[in-house]
């Protein structure tokens, strides 16, 4: 039984077919990567899945529930939580308070939520930075806070939108480690990424998009040698 199922999801933007009949599914425990050249429609698909946009056609099923067209906050409470490409942390609030906002989703009691928040902070290795204001954080830390915040909501599916962009190689390695530990906790992960060095080692399965359509799907090694994928990325250098 798949955790997330997209069937024929299509979305048009001002005449452009951003998503064209996209169909795929994600099972519990997977780390699924979504890659594709710029303009392939990855972010649009992401938004359609998480409720930030309504698909023009097709269905999205989450835990066997049809969530097509649901409000994004409702989808979040059902267990599918996303992060943002350009970090959206609460700049006037401290790290702890940021994560608290996440923790409060399933723990209305502030004291309980504090514990959950602290645990998430520890898990993402932000301990000691509880009281730093969001506006004073580095990019890498902001991304960590977003992840901690999302984790504090107790999701079953974590959707990471280009979470590694802007990180230096050391930070990327740490991030990869973190995603693995998240999966080990029992949380399914779907990540949109540009950086091959991240997707290939991490993902159990990779989806490739180009021009709005899903052009390939499979294990990382299969994808790396798929001529369709190589053609789509013509001009881009990466190591298989």
């Amino acid at each position: 039984m798949s955790l997330l199922e997209a069937k024929n999801v299509s979305k048009r933007f001002e005449g452009l077919l951003a998503n064209d009949n996209v169909t795929f599914s994600i099972d519990k425990g997977e780390i699924v990567g979504l890659i594709g050249p710029n303009g392939a429609g990855k972010t649009t698909l992401f938004n359609c899945l998480t409720g930030f946009r309504k698909p023009d056609a097709g269905t999205v099923m989450f835990s066997s529930n049809n969530i097509t067209g649901f409000a994004p906050e409702r989808i979040a409470t059902m267990g599918m939580v996303r992060t943002f490409q350009i970090t959206k942390i609460f700049t006037s609030m401290t790290v702890l308070d940021n994560v608290m906002v996440g923790a409060l989703m399933r723990h209305a009691d502030v004291k309980e939520a504090l514990e959950v928040a602290r645990e998430a902070i520890g898990f993402t290795q932000l301990q000691g930075r509880d009281n730093i204001l969001g506006s004073s954080l580095t990019v890498a830390d902001r991304k960590r806070v977003e992840v901690a915040r999302a984790l504090a909501t107790g999701p079953s599916l974590l959707m990471l939108d280009e979470a590694m962009a802007g990180l230096n190689p050391t930070e990327v390695t740490d991030a990869i480690e973190l995603v693995r530990r998240i999966r080990d906790r029992g949380i399914t992960v779907m990540l949109v990424e540009h950086i091959m060095e991240v997707i290939m080692p991490l993902s159990s399965r990779v989806l490739v998009m180009d021009n709005g359509a899903l052009i390939a799907e499979g294990r990382p090694d299969e994808i790396a040698s798929d001529p369709k994928v190589i053609r789509a990325y013509l001009g881009e250098n990466w190591d298989a």
Partner: protein, 350 residues
């Protein structure tokens, strides 16, 4: 020794509370005590109004509606059915909260100016309805039957008990604001204000929580209305639901500092004595000299030292407030003054 440390940190707050408690002993004339009571009532109204602006980031210019609901509910229950005001005063907030929640859910779809005008429209509808509702006194209003000194009826023959009740009312409003700020809703309000999209991604139903802020705000406003009715012993649509009433709540809070826990008290302490004094001493000839002076002073305030007088008052008082910092820091952080956007919808009025 530990108490000495606590005392030093919260000295200003302690002094303030002490001063508030002995106020009627220092101010002994009826007029000065009346001023104190009015300042407290308006400070309560401002605190309630502040909840909406500070927490939900939207400006209501029609809060008089809830004040009127409170006053009318209490009085009508008493006059028509005989429910003593000490009990009836609780009905107002419940009714006002319901109205606010039902109004808020659809209205929070609106941004800035549209929302503000919607609140004006609602208040006007309320005013028109009550002015034409003869059973409720219509335009002539209703007199509250005199019961002498009676706690059950929330009536007294001297001002002193009223003062302490008003103080209690104000204390309650501050306490409610504080509790709301430190609850889950408080975190959510800050999140919504900082980044609504991120808030949504964490499961926050923005409209619902704004409606919550509106509900609390309306309930406290109505409570003040119920108290006021039993203080002045006469209610009519003009003195509580008219636009001037709603605008004054907004004005004094803004003068004192929006999004600041003590802003309403400060604003009320400046504006109310000003308006009441000009009213009492200058309006005798019925030729609105008092309002002329009051209005001109407001314009002068704004024009001649736009940053100056308003900013000046605020700077002086901000320094005073900073002395009370620890006590209010937790509360003040929830209510960040909204920036002054020109074209964005959120909280665009102020």
């Amino acid at each position: 020794m530990r108490y000495a440390g606590w005392l030093k940190k919260n000295l200003f707050a302690v002094v303030l509370v002490a001063a508030a408690l002995v106020d009627p002993l220092i101010l002994r004339t009826s007029f000065l005590r009346h001023l104190s009571i009015m300042v407290l009532i308006w400070a309560t109204l401002g605190t309630a109004w502040n909840m909406l602006v500070g927490y939900a980031g939207q400006v209501s210019l029609g809060h008089g509606l809830f004040f009127g609901i409170g006053a009318y509910t209490t009085t009508l229950l008493f006059v028509k059915i005989g429910v003593p005001p000490s009990i009836g005063i609780l009905a107002g907030p419940i009714l006002a909260a319901t109205v606010a929640y039902l109004m808020g859910l659809p209205l929070f779809r609106l941004s800035g100016f549209y929302f503000s005008i919607a609140t004006i429209a609602s208040a006007e509808i309320g005013w028109i309805l009550f002015t034409n509702w003869d059973w409720a006194g219509g335009a002539r209003g209703l007199f509250v039957p005199l019961k002498g000194d009676s706690l059950v009826h929330l009536q007294f023959t001297t001002k002193v008990p009223y003062y302490y009740l008003a103080l209690l009312l104000f204390g309650l409003s501050v306490y409610a604001a504080h509790r709301l700020a430190s609850s889950r809703a408080g975190y959510y309000f800050r999140a919504i204000r900082d980044d609504p999209e991120a808030a949504v991604s964490l499961g926050i139903n923005i409209r619902k929580f704004k409606a919550v802020a509106y509900t609390f705000s309306a309930a406290i406003t109505a409570l003040a209305g119920g108290f006021y009715a039993n203080y002045v012993l006469y209610i009519d649509p003009d003195s509580m639901m008219a636009a001037k009433f709603s605008t004054q709540i907004c004005l004094l809070t803004v003068l004192g500092g929006v999004g600041d826990m003590w802003g309403p008290l400060i604003g009320a302490s400046v504006l109310i004595p000003l308006s009441e004094t000009t009213r009492v001493f200058l309006s005798g000839r019925g030729r609105a000299v008092d309002l002329l002076v009051y209005g001109s002073l407001i314009v002068a305030f704004a024009v001649f030292q736009p940053k100056g007088l308003i900013g000046l008052t605020r700077d002086v008082l901000t320094r005073a407030r900073r002395a009370m910092a620890p006590a209010t820091a937790a509360i003040a952080t929830v209510e960040k003054p909204p920036s002054a956007p020109q074209d964005t919808g959120q909280g665009g009025m102020i």
